[in-house]
Symmetry: C2
Subunit: 754 residues, 2 copies
């Protein structure tokens, strides 16, 4: 087992690597050439137009001012300066509440750490059990942990009581945080300027009607059932294929630009390419001409597809965005059941236009349940049996395996140096690749389940990832062996034995988790700020594709908080904190450093870098809350199991109320706050409607909502000069000829009625 | 173990006792004097005015026509004749759907029984294991059951496959039944005449406002947030004490009538009574004078209390019934969230006026969650630990225990005959009393939890009773030993061992359950039709209290289906059917007889006897469905456990999908149908509003809803001549003087506004 010195050594290494990352970041961010990598948020806001340093040619790319290098951690206090209200306006509520999770970590664990060190560390240190056992190897860390206390000792009461104190303190912080976030959300929604989704409801599963088109059916239904409130609606087109064509065209444009740039720089030779896969195989052709003709074809195809979508009745999905005359009416429609068949005319608050995940809008109800069921089964197998295919791949990825499948490689890999690389590297690579693509797999599963907004997809993927981390990282590290083996063990054990089996190994794994926190937490977060991948990609794009300032704008990749990956990881730290607070308090300061460090870094990132794809108004908080509760309950169960194996069974009745109380606390919070994240209260809606009528009596809501929910491929793309604007003036649009397609925007003027 | 002959013998006894009950019923119902006991429904409907047989004095009480006695089972076909739509109109949807549960039992189990006898009985009979074991006692029943099959036999595949067939057939019936009930409910709601609860919403947790009274606050809130729809509201008074006084007055009146009747019949001596407890102790007084003065006092007290309630601001609870101008608006308000604080201004569909449980309307949100939590803990202890106090009482209820506590009884109970009675009778009596009062305890727990309609109280009590029966009757009979011991056993066993432990004893307990079905099911149902307790009480009342025809009307006790007791019992039979279908098919015909018999009896009862206290429109069906699913899942788990112990582990992977599929089926049904029982779809509401506007354009809804939701003690009781009508004409009501109390009916004319 690792000693205190080992831990210090490891901490030093990880601190140094973190500092190295920070130093590299501090150097790179000062170079004007990297300005768009490290400050894209300001460019998108239009505040920063060009690198801050003017001067000679050289100065445009490299910062030669030595004074700016001296205080290389200057950005840290700067990141903390922006006050929260301003930050919400700058970065949106999603981001601000996200960094509050780290802050909440500090709020929960700073007092817990102080208390644990003041009470439990002395109790453990003077336990003196390990000193007596001379022949057992133990470390100084174990002397500070619960392992140092003799069986049946009365000292365990200290741990049990402190476990109550920790739980109640967490309740206090979690409750107030939930309350604060709920209030922030309501304030944010109230302070927001007018948004299309306030007035709009997403209607799914419009029943098929043999006599009417979807758009007529929707209009009639809402005219009848919300007679004084219905304003207009927009049907949803199945434009997935069209979107693919547009995407392909965009890629072709990039290649064209690349070759044109190449030709401009070196006009002596016209660049060539090959027509096959990735330009590697196939016949060689003149690149510029080839891509120009390809783009030509795609434009034609796009036109055809566009017309097909607009004229084909089957391209209209049984879903629509229905807009109302007031926020009140939209809130009413979203919260009520429309039809006596609860699987038809499903209404819900429309997601923000940019939050809509268009391809999933047409899934019927029963298919939805089947998909969810299948994905639940898939997640179970993914979580518990993912090692099986990986072990299979690993068994292939041996020297012998490769020789068998690819005999022609035999001579190459028999070379000693190659052989050693293959042997050392290959077995781990399958697992590594799996872990890297895992979030993508989980997101794909969420998409298959059929959620129809990016925010709900993110939340769903996060839930899945949390389960995976819980089973495979947390439990998998405590009980050595695969999840599959654990599952077998647990099936054979009784309900009261499982926490004991896990609990007894917890103190032994403390050093492992301390190292994990330093490697994954400290260094990982420091790497985040460096943005190495976007840095490289930006410079590649900048070199090969950028011609105009506008192109450079597009080459920027500000990125965003990857909620489905980061949030479950934070939850892992919370859980480690809860579990080890009463067992090995030594671990707590490492978590504190993580929370504090991550808070500063992410605050800097949301100020200067990230540009969120959507704004859900912290709609994910109920998930965060639920996972905190799960972490607490696991910690409580494991402590009970651990104390049982230590011969302190008499403490069990004292500890049993703890998880029950936690469950009840969860229900209380859920009932008290959750609906603020699900429903839009009528009182708020009415206040805002009244206010708006007073301040803006001449508002033409119809014009405002007219094309709010059009599939992005139908939207006018300012960078694409060839696309025609087909939708603005319906009256004199020459493209819209047939009766069907004249309904494209599905806006029926209220004067004419139906 | 019981042989087939034993079972036949027991069946004969139970059949005879059932026939005896039926015969007694047939005789008693033909006597005109019992007419109001066996046909109260028709009296309440006003169709039956007086006994059907006219003639001499004797003929008024006894039916002397011998022809009517001959066909004593005549009522059975009569009970089956009334078609369902007419029955719904006659008895309400709650009753009709209730008897459909029995019918569903037949639909599920008739095909299952046929299949099980056609397939499984031959498979079991030819198993021949029991024949080989010569020294083991076994019965013919065991030869027909799964016990007759050798370990590791391939014959178990038949049971596993049939288990799938049974499950899918149940799914089919349950799904279509849910669909049919949901449609019946929607039709019923649509066909109903105008009802106050269609237009009304129950608002709870009205926040306190220092500047406004509750009634003003409610009015302002709904005027602002539902401006075009709000009509009027009625606040809720805490009139519990007043109700007590009225109740006491009614009891005194009964005594007064009793003594007056006594005096009328025997005018020579004036009856006397004693002033103390139950008229047994205290000073002797003239009974008629005493009760007259007591009633006088109570009338004064009532007046005082009534005025106090109306004038005291604290007597107004923070709850109100808010009525709207249309069903649409009421449906909208009930389904939406009003305030940004989701624990304030809670709205829900108002229960029917007679369904309201008034005393629970004022419980605040947090208290609600605490009460629920405490009752959940209480239910757990009641279910698993109820034997402890009973064992304690039993230990006292011995000869020695009684001698210790009541030494003066020593000489009496030392007498041999008394001693044997005490010894034979006392130990069981504590348990019997507990089982009799259990439904009352569970109902009390539901009331403490704070539900505010009688229908939800019934449903909640039924859930609790179902759990109790499941643990203490079903599991308790399979695994001998108390629930507490079971709990200990299960805590020490693994998740996969528990079904094995239970499963292995299932075939052995088949004969016990067959006897149980005959005693509790057959004879119990036959006793239900006899109505012995209401019969006795009616005749007592008729003799001592009845003076006028109106009094006789009041002496009738039609009773109602006791949903919280009967429904969980049906579920027990369903579960027995599911569990034994694949194990001991011999049990199935007994269940079929129960379902068929109970269907006829209850159909007769709802036609001729029961008068439901409220009409919830079959709102309990989701509970019925959920419990069916629970029964199926338990059956599937136990079969898996049983097959495991029989060495057929290779069948486990084949059977594991079964409970998962069942869970998914439950979710599907829930999503598909449940909301029909929870929400009122806007489309339906709109159709009915439109229809009403067309058919009844001059309807004054204000007058109609004016006093719909007044606490029953404020309602005019036609039998009570002394009560003043204080609420009808508010304008010229002399009792309503103060500003506060003028708000009593809380009806604000819409013309004046606010």
């Amino acid at each position: 087992m690792a000693t205190l010195q080992d831990i210090c050594y490891s901490a030093a290494i990880n601190l140094l690597s973190a500092i190295a990352f920070l130093f590299a970041f501090a150097m790179l961010r000062l170079q004007p050439v990297n300005d768009r990598v490290y400050f894209p948020k300001w460019y998108l806001k239009g505040i920063r137009g060009s690198p801050t340093h003017h001067g000679g040619f050289m100065k445009k790319f490299v910062n030669l001012d030595p004074r700016t290098y001296i205080r290389f951690l200057n950005w840290m206090p700067a990141a903390l300066q922006m006050p929260e209200p301003e930050l919400i306006e700058h970065a949106g509520l999603d981001s601000v509440v996200y960094i509050r999770i780290y802050l909440m970590g500090l709020k929960i664990f700073v007092p817990i750490t102080l208390l644990a060190w003041a009470v439990l560390v002395p109790v453990n240190m003077t336990g003196g059990t390990l000193d007596k056992i001379k022949d057992l190897t133990y470390s100084d860390i174990d002397k500070l942990s619960i392992s140092n206390i003799a069986e049946n000792s009365v000292r365990f009461w200290a741990h049990a009581i402190m476990s109550y104190v920790f739980t109640f303190w967490s309740f206090y912080v979690i409750y107030h945080e939930y309350k604060a976030v709920a209030n922030m959300r309501l304030q944010f929604l109230a302070a927001e300027s007018r948004r299309a989704d306030h007035f709009t409801v997403l209607v799914r599963n419009v029943p098929a009607d043999p006599d009417e088109s979807v758009t007529d059916h929707v209009e009639h239904f809402f005219r009848v059932n919300h007679p004084e409130h219905y304003l207009l609606h927009q049907v949803v087109y199945n434009a997935n294929k069209l979107a693919d064509v547009v995407e392909a065209k965009k890629a072709m444009r990039n290649w064209l630009t690349y070759y044109q740039n190449k030709y401009d720089r070196n006009p002596s030779t016209r660049p060539t390419t090959k027509t096959g896969l990735w330009g590697i195989i196939g016949t060689t052709v003149d690149a510029i001409e080839y891509y120009e003709s390809e783009i030509e074809n795609l434009i034609k195809e796009e036109e055809l597809e566009r017309e097909k979508v607009l004229s084909d009745a089957n391209a209209v999905m049984p879903a629509a965005f229905v807009s109302f005359k007031s926020r009140w009416a939209a809130a009413v429609c979203a919260q009520t059941q429309q039809s006596s068949n609860p699987t038809m005319w499903l209404t819900e608050r429309a997601p923000e236009p940019r939050d809509v995940y268009w391809s999933n809008l047409a899934i019927p109800y029963v298919e939805h349940t089947i998909r969810k069921f299948l994905m639940a089964v898939a997640l179970f197998f993914l979580t518990f049996f993912f090692v099986i295919p990986i072990a299979f791949v690993q068994s292939l990825a041996t020297i012998e395996g490769i020789e068998k499948v690819f005999p022609f490689l035999k001579h190459l890999i028999e070379v000693d140096s190659v052989k050693s690389i293959v042997q050392g590297f290959l077995p781990g690579i399958a697992l590594k690749i799996f872990l890297i693509v895992l979030p993508t797999i989980l997101m794909l599963m969420a998409k298959i389940e059929g959620f129809h907004s990016l925010s709900s997809l993110d939340r769903r993927a996060a839930s899945k990832y949390h389960l995976f981390l819980l089973v495979n990282v947390f439990l998998g590290s405590i009980i050595t062996g695969t999840a599959l083996e654990q599952l077998k063990t647990f099936m054979k054990q009784s309900a009261s034995e499982i926490p004991q089996t896990i609990g007894v190994s917890i103190p032994m794994r403390a050093t492992f988790f301390i190292t994990y926190i330093m490697v994954d937490g400290w260094s990982g977060i420091a790497a985040e700020v460096l943005r190495l991948v976007p840095l490289i990609i930006f410079h590649l794009k900048n070199t090969f594709l950028v011609k105009t300032e506008q192109d450079r704008e597009q080459a920027m990749d500000p990125g965003s908080i990857s909620f489905p990956i980061s949030e479950p990881r934070i939850q892992l730290y919370f859980m480690l904190g809860f579990v080890y607070a009463a067992v090995t308090p030594l671990l707590l300061p490492f978590i504190l450093v993580f929370f504090a460090f991550a808070y500063v870094i992410f605050r800097h990132q949301i100020i200067n870098v990230y540009d969120q794809k959507y704004e859900s108004g912290a709609g994910y908080w109920p998930d965060v809350h639920r996972r905190l509760i799960i972490g607490q309950m696991i910690a409580q169960m494991l402590l009970m199991g651990l104390l049982n194996t230590k011969g302190a069974e008499e403490l069990s009745p004292f500890l049993i109320p703890l998880p029950i109380l936690t469950m009840w606390f969860h229900k209380l919070c859920k009932g008290r706050f959750e609906s603020a994240f699900v429903k839009f209260p009528l009182q708020e809606a009415m206040v805002r409607d009244t206010l708006e009528r007073a301040t803006d009596p001449n508002l033409n809501l119809r014009t405002y909502l007219h094309d709010a929910y059009i599939h992005p491929v139908f939207k006018h793309d300012p960078s694409d000069k060839t696309e025609t604007m087909i939708y603005y003036d319906e009256e004199d649009n020459p493209l819209v000829a047939t009766k069907r397609s004249s309904k494209f925007v599905s806006d029926v003027s209220s004067g004419s009625g139906s």
